[in-house]
Symmetry: C2
Subunit: 247 residues, 2 copies
DNA sequence: CGAGCACTTGATCGCTTTCAATAGCTGTGG
DNA sequence: CCACAGCTATTGAAAGCGATCAAGTGCTCG
């Protein structure tokens, strides 16, 4: 199931997420300890990386690609509860089994750490522990922002919110100036979007068409999105129109 | 605004949340340091403890009572994003301003720590940092569970889920054996429930009546809830029927 | 006793879901 | 090369659930 290919990189210094991931604050000697317990793994789009309830021997950082965390009810209703982009962390120290199903939405490379030694490193390396706390607090904020989207926004606002969040995160990763038009690849199927937003895929499709008709977004193919005017998108999302990023 | 009454307690050893809160793992000398930077504050039901955007000079633990975290959109739509029961932690180290509005749902006593010295303690006291990480991870799990409720459950299931979660947490706090019937005081107005569940208060009222009519719950007054059969409530919530508490 | 508040209940409306049909794309095999 | 399966996405029509608008109940407090 898990295609364990070793990607090109093995040295942390070449790593694209070196300064954003859980290892961001590590010194050279601390990185060396991490390198001893890590290995890279690749997954292809659609693959399940881990099932909820599985024994979890690794925690990991997303190096490239997009992965999702989902929860499923007995009757099949499904809700995405996390969208993992490069530098995001997966897994919970001190926990034996996975709480959520992790799926590769695109081809994904993960930097996996053996859980037990990683837990020891947390205890002995404040740089890692603090960074992990900080990232967890950020994720909690993101989850709470998402609760507002799920609980109170209309279908149209939900779609606009998702596009805005992805656009923002892509912009962060690219370090690109967000002047004028922004464009990005949506790495999610309509169904994955509906799982994130608590909608049906038909409603997602309809609202995407509506936003396109109204010129809020331009579609280049099914998945490449161009946002001519970010502030208009944010308006549609029901967010404060100032582009001010919290944090 | 903040009625700064000193409650009876001042010694951490008498504190009802001593072994559950952020200080749970502290040794005697560490507690002494915390005592130097803490003070208790009381708030009466309905009071706003802190507004989103306010400067935040304190972080705190809930000692008794119930507080809520809410987010509000410009047009007034409101979503609760956190329900704080005794031992829960409020506030984010390293952040100057509050992200959410904190409101006392009942009379509340909080144990407030001055933020700056608390941040230093986090850096110097692994027992506190680790406990805070653990609590934050628990909150993140709770938020993700709530995302499933908000995104995919029906009104009836939402109400049942809320009652089940409160019943469970009350049972934890009371350390009571959960054999047979469980009863507890719901400390939330119908409106607060609707804010939590992404519903209107009318829908909350209707579904409460429906659950009562179907014998899933018994109401003693408006706010005291008796659950004759917890497994039936969990069934209505759409959860796995085994009463197994995750973690 | 009346005002104010929390809550309940009823009737109607509308948004999202559901059910269904169709289009477009990709890869496979005759 | 084309036909066809399989998948993703779009679009239409109808149904249903929760929201909205509105009225009324019961309680507390002045």
């Amino acid at each position: 199931m898990t295609r364990t290919l070793a990607p090109d990189l093995k040295d942390c210094n070449d790593c694209p997420i070196r300064h954003r991931a859980v290892c961001a604050r590590c010194e050279t000697d601390e990185l060396r300890k991490l390198e001893e317990i890590k290995n890279y793994r690749s997954f292809s789009a659609g693959q399940t990386i881990m099932w909820a309830g599985d024994r979890m021997d690794f925690v990991a950082s997303v190096v490239s690609g997009v992965a999702t965390l989902t929860q499923t009810m007995e009757d099949g209703r499904r809700q995405m509860v996390g969208l993992l982009l490069p530098s995001d962390f997966v897994g919970r120290p001190q926990r034996e089994t996975a709480s959520y199903t992790v799926t590769a939405a695109s081809d994904v490379v993960m930097c996996c750490f053996r859980r037990k030694p990683f837990e020891q490193l947390i205890a002995s390396t404040p740089h890692i522990a603090h960074r992990l706390l900080e990232m967890t607090l950020d994720e909690l904020d993101a989850a709470r922002e998402w609760m507002l989207v799920l609980g109170r926004k209309t279908a149209r606002e939900k779609i606009a919110s998702l596009l805005a969040i992805i656009a923002r995160r892509i912009a962060e990763l690219d370090e690109a100036a967000d002047t004028g038009a922004i464009s990005f690849d949506l790495m999610l199927t309509r169904e994955a979007m509906s799982d994130y937003l608590g909608l049906t895929l038909e409603t997602v499709s309809r609202q995407m068409s509506a936003l396109k008709k109204d010129g809020i977004i331009v579609l280049d193919g099914k998945r490449h999105i161009i946002v001519p005017d970010m502030s208009r998108l944010l308006e549609e999302a029901g967010d404060d129109s100032d582009g001010g990023l919290p944090v």
